[in-house]
Amino acid sequence: MKWLSTTFWSRQRNFFMVLLGLLFLAVVLALDLAFPYMSDLPLTLYWMREGLIVATFLLYGVTLYGRRYIEEKNILYKLRTVFFALIGLYAVVLVPRMLFSRSSSFSLHNLFAFYPALETIFLRMLISVFFTLFMINILILLRTLVFYKSRRKTHRLFHASLVLLGGLVVYGHLSRTVVQVEWTFQGRTPFEWILLGFLLLFLVILSFRSSWVTYLNRRQKYLAFWGGLAVLPAIILVFRSNVLDEISRFSLTVGAFDSFVFYFITIYLAFTEINLLLHLPTASIFDKKMNEIASLQNLSRMISTVLEYNRVIEKVTELARDVLRADGTWLEMVENGSEVRVVSSNGLSQKELARLPVKFEKSITSWVLENRRSLLINEISRDSRSSYLRKWKKNIGSLLSVPLVSQNRVLGVLHAIKHEEFGFDQDDQDMLQAFADQATVAIENARLVEESLEKERLEQELRVAHDTQLKLLPKQMPSLPDVEIEALCVTANEVGGDYFDFVELGSHSLGIVIADVSGKGISAAFYMAELKGIVNSFARIYTSPKELLIRINETLYENVDRQTFVSMVYALLDTSRRKLYFCRAGHEPVFYYSARHDRLELLQPQGIGLALDSGNVFNRLLEERNVKWRGGDFFLFYTDGLIEARNQSGEEFGFQRLYELVWKYRDRSARELKEVVKEEVLKFIGHARPHDDFSLILVRAT
């Protein structure tokens, strides 16, 4: 079913068209050859011949006319094609002329003069066909040029011209005169004259539509101008010769059409040449403008593609230098509120950058930051504001500086320099400002993206820290005879460094750890993990709390950075002797409730935080205590997050409140007391999450 496919069919159709056209022309040729032998020419035969010719060209013309002949972007390319086609046409016309020529004389007047007999008929037909095919193409080209960025009115005018031409042809046929669009009064009726006048007027109006010239670049404008001039002899040649008359003799309709198109192209060419000539002096400026627009578009495109801050600022100086054809550009950004730093440059050496004076009271940057306006200095050496720049770089002639303003805030200043004086003009200043405005958007976007990435990274870090903390805390409470143990850790959004643990040292002995690592977040979580490792391994070796803490201090001091320290209470609970041995290393005191005396006291033996000191002070001050407990007694260990928990108005929960709370509920079980403290603190702060972790451990003797 191949023949059904569209491409196949369209190729078949084109082939069929050409065949049909050739067939028509063959009939016409046969008629022409037969005419000399007919004494009386029948009018029907004449009409038939004319009809066949018109049909042939209509077939060709309509096929082409429907297509989009010229894309806007490659006008010049198409013009060049026409130029070469013109040369081809002349070859077609002249070569047979040379071959068949019998006279040795060769002048413009008889260039297309034909000779009697058969050659005339052949040649006339050949030339008419080629010339007309060429003219059809020219008309379509003219249409595209005229329609380029044009309004509807132009379209109507163009089609009105074609209709007028049709009218003239019909009228010409009816009055049996040779119809040409020629500026002559001879043999014309007033009606014809009016039609012709209108036609010429339309053509002139249409010839003003050559806006495509504007969009050519400088080189293309020159090419088009000289190309147009080169075509001039070809046009003169056609005018001086009798080719149009000969075509009219071949067919009145075709002659009229060819004349029309020929006049149209001549008038259009004349106007376009004038237009080109007027554009030539400004061509380079126009080029520059186009270049600027292209760069601005380039930047706009970049805004949507480049999201990395560093790439954006690099591109900004690169494009700014391109657009202005500057010798150097650099971008200064305001950082930390008032500091100004060069963040990117183009065309300047590292050495020059290092010596560049950026911000001081009377610098250009300060001026621009203060006035929020662009500044153009065309004579660096004579302007007092910029003379300091001459000391920086000797060959600066002119300077242009524009602010990057976003929401009434100046983000930075973009500078461009040229070696020559008067290197920048008002347009450059406006242009660079427009450019800077675009750049500001790009920079802001890049920053926002980086901020959100940073935020995501921080959130990820928070999650990691939380997971770490949760994994480090014991999941089950240890069970020992005669004691009830409860623990609690309410974590802050940002890990606060609270840590507690139990080390089982046998059936009657338990190590209890409560600690607070300084700092927050991932680093605190990391040190917690380190601490857990140290405590768990050392607690099995050193049973005395004092000795254990001394060892822990030594190890920690060597392994953490100087800013980090840990406060900790380590207690050894011995259920067989009913004793608690403990040390406090810089931590909050321990509550002890004695049931026998109904007394709640605070145990605060001496001791400084871990990792504050290499050992001299730590070992000297650390004090170990022991308490003999009975049934009903309890110990409460806690971290500072508990008493430093703040409510909305900034008030702290405080030690006093905690003491009163513990006293009030002293008779409750460990679990109940824990729940009460948690509820009361959370109620006080008014959120589910405190700003710092808080933890507590309760050990109650039963």
């Binding site: 940002e494 460094g497 607070d516 690592v517 300084s518 700092g519 927050k520 977040g521 950075d561 100087r562 800013q563 980090t564 320290f565 406060s567 810089g586 931590h587 909050e588 005191p589 605060q604 001496q606 001791g607 400084i608 935080g609 504050l612 000191d613 002070v617 001050l621 500072d640 430093e644 900034g650 702290e652 710092d692």
Partner: protein, 122 residues
């Protein structure tokens, strides 16, 4: 809510830094930068006045620990004065009074530097 600010005063080779507001994990880096700047200028005799400080967290305390070695190895010191009871409690629990000179008034802190100078003239 967590506002923090500083002011700096210079008296001969002494630098007094007044800190105000909340010194916690979020504001500690500001304080650290200020201290580092003073040290970079070669000024190692520093008094930190806490009279307007409402709160200090472990991260804030860490800042002192981070710079003290450098300060002391250059013959200087950081002395603290005018701590509120609440702030002093935090210092006291951790054992800072064993590591730093913590005094009641700014004059006392300055006097401590002067005394030390007389004892060991350059």
């Amino acid at each position: 809510m967590d506002q923090f600010s500083m002011q700096r005063k210079e008296m001969d080779d002494l630098t007094v830094l007044y800190i105000e507001g909340y010194l916690d994990a979020h504001t500690a880096h500001q304080f650290e930068e200020a201290l580092r700047k003073i040290i970079e200028e070669g000024r190692y005799k520093i008094v930190v006045n806490f009279s307007r400080l409402n709160y200090i967290s472990s991260a804030g305390l860490g800042v002192f620990m981070g710079v003290i070695e450098e300060v002391r190895s250059n013959g200087g010191d950081i002395k603290m004065c005018c701590l509120s009871d609440k702030v002093f409690r935090v210092f006291d629990l951790l054992g800072f009074p064993a590591l730093y000179d913590i005094v009641k008034t700014e004059d006392e802190a300055i006097q401590k530097f002067r005394d030390a100078q007389e004892k060991a003239p350059e």
